[in-house]
């Protein structure tokens, strides 16, 4: 059996990439930290949303709150939740395999869970409806298809699965319940995280080197922060997000 030149090239490239990726992952490099709010926190109060339009929303959860700004005011310093932190530069032209496991977006209690999340290009996004009411999923991207479809029945099994191309964070909304919205960032690499309730994030496996992080928030916008991580090390990085 004869192999063509192209076939050998493809196999060799794949082999080199696999070794490179595995080696990079093995270094267990990590950057972690908090996103700290810098500004007048009193201006931002999270309030309960009026979901009276659809009584079935109230059946799932007793109440839901606004999402545009969620500050963790119980700790000092005050931190920000739902900041999408990702590596913007420093990865050069490395190619990363697409995870086989899908990311799940659930509509439950007439809100999206998660509210902000990242996904890799080509990775499956599974959309489920956990409510006994109709939801309409309306994507508002610039590059990807503007998906716009309904999920009229409760469906926590099959749902609808789609894949996306890389794109900066964009909004997804429900046309039936105007308060419902979430944001998706699509990346060519797996190095992203969303700050949790305490404003913490952690990204691992990028390999030793110098990188630039991008922080994106749906209300506050974007900012960047540089960091360096050594082989097998963890870099702690608390970042101040200045809000005017």
């Amino acid at each position: 059996m004869r192999c063509s030149k192209n076939t050998i090239t493809v196999i060799a490239t794949g082999f080199i990439l696999a070794i490179g990726t595995t080696a990079a992952m093995a270094e267990k490099t990590t950057v972690r930290g908090k996103v700290i709010f810098k500004g007048n926190a009193a201006k931002f109060k999270r309030t309960k949303l009026d979901t009276s339009k659809d009584p079935k929303c109230k059946m799932s959860k007793k109440s839901i709150g606004t999402y545009d700004v969620i500050l963790n005011k119980k700790t000092d310093p005050i931190t920000i939740r739902n900041v999408l932190v990702s590596i913007k530069s420093g990865l050069a032209d490395r190619v990363f395999p697409t995870p086989n496991t899908p990311v799940t977006l659930t509509q439950y209690g007439c809100e999206y869970d998660p509210h902000v999340f990242g996904i890799m290009e080509g990775q499956e996004l599974k959309i489920l409806n956990g409510d006994e009411t109709n939801h309409n999923i309306h994507f508002l991207p610039k590059n990807n298809d503007q998906y716009n479809f309904s999920q009229p029945k409760k469906d926590l099994e099959k749902g609808k699965t789609i894949t996306l191309d890389a794109e900066a964070p964009f909004r997804v909304k429900c046309d039936v319940h105007p308060w419902m919205g979430c944001h998706i960032g699509v990346f060519k690499h797996p190095f992203y995280d969303v700050t949790d309730k305490l404003g913490k994030f952690e990204i691992s496996g990028m390999g030793a080197g110098s990188y630039t992080l991008e922080l994106w928030h749906e209300t506050f916008g974007t900012m960047t922060a540089d960091f360096t991580v050594a082989k097998g090390q963890t870099t702690d990085l608390d970042i101040e997000f200045e809000v005017k």
């Binding site: 109060k45 309030t47 309960k48 339009k53 009584p55 109440s63 839901i64 709150g65 606004t66």
Partner: protein, 299 residues
């Protein structure tokens, strides 16, 4: 001819007995629980639903007259059609005559139908519409409750002026999904107390003026129990007015009657018709600033 007369009489009797003798379907709450989970008041079935508006009987009267007239026409023309099929069927030795038949009966019956339709339009519908439009209270009429209604794909938003009775400024630039769907300018002192709700609350016995508009496409504000149906058009402010009867207290539905998109069927809101005291209590409750949401509520 005897056969035709019998057929006509039987058809009219059948229609009349169906319309007049059949009891209304008692379907209280049957339409909405599947969709909204809330018990909907009123009677719904093959005929007109419950009427809770003071002007509704006039609408119903015109609808009834039109339906009776249409039934007579339907049966009459239908019987004539059947008669012609039988009378002029193909028979051996007969040949079709393509020339126009000139008969006084058909001529005068057509004139009669045209006159009756003109009477329906000029004698009933137009005066009724003129009356409905003339009854709309002015914007500054303190005896009326003024509500601004904004339709959007696929929701209704209801705005009340609050304790000062004056609507504040609003603009598209302030619109924010979920928290400010009607674009209120909260810095305006008159707008600070404005109330925006996803529910339609009205008191009984008081004239209500609804100013309709749309954020995106053409919708239609339809409240069957109030005998109200009016298109909402982007860029236009269309007023409608009605008064709910004192006996109309209950929970009903507002629907969109104009196909407006793929979730048109979801575009509905609950309408609470309340006594003045209950309405005032709701207004006070709805006017309170939104409660702070505790993150622990999620746990």
């Amino acid at each position: 001819m005897r056969f035709t007369k019998m057929l006509c009489i039987l058809a009219v009797l059948a229609w009349a007995s169906f319309h007049l003798l059949a009891p209304p379907v008692q379907a209280q709450g049957s339409a909405a629980p599947d969709t909204s989970g809330v018990k909907i008041d009123g009677e719904y079935g093959p005929f007109l639903p419950t009427d809770i508006s003071e002007h509704g009987y006039k609408i119903d009267r015109v609808i009834d007259i039109v339906h009776v007239f249409m039934a007579v026409l339907f049966v009459g023309w239908g019987a004539f059609f059947v008669y012609c099929l039988v009378r002029f069927r193909q028979k051996p030795g007969h040949q079709a005559d393509p020339h126009e038949v000139k008969a006084k009966v058909s001529k005068w019956s057509e004139i009669g139908v045209a006159v009756f339709e003109a009477v329906l339009l000029i004698g009933f519908s137009m005066p009724l519409w003129a009356e409905v439009r003339a009854e709309i209270p002015a914007d500054d009429d303190p005896n009326a409750l003024h509500v601004k209604v904004l339709g959007e794909q696929f929701a209704w938003n209801f705005r009340y002026a609050g304790p000062d009775g004056i609507f504040g400024r609003s603009a598209a630039k302030f619109v924010k999904d979920g928290t400010n769907p009607m674009g209120l300018d909260r810095s305006d002192p008159h707008g600070d107390d404005d109330i925006v709700s996803g529910e339609f609350h009205i008191p009984t016995g008081k004239p209500i003026v609804v100013q309709l508009t749309s954020k995106d496409v053409i919708h239609s504000f339809s409240v069957p129990v109030l005998r109200i149906k009016q298109d909402t058009i982007p860029g236009m402010r269309i007023p409608i007015s009605f008064t709910a009867k004192k006996s109309g207290v209950g929970t009903y539905e507002v629907a969109c009657a104009q196909l407006c998109g793929n979730n048109h069927y979801s575009m509905r809101a609950l309408m609470y018709v309340q006594s003045q005291n209950d309405f005032d209590a709701w207004l006070i409750e709805a006017g309170k600033p939104p409660e702070e949401f505790d993150e622990d509520d999620l746990d």
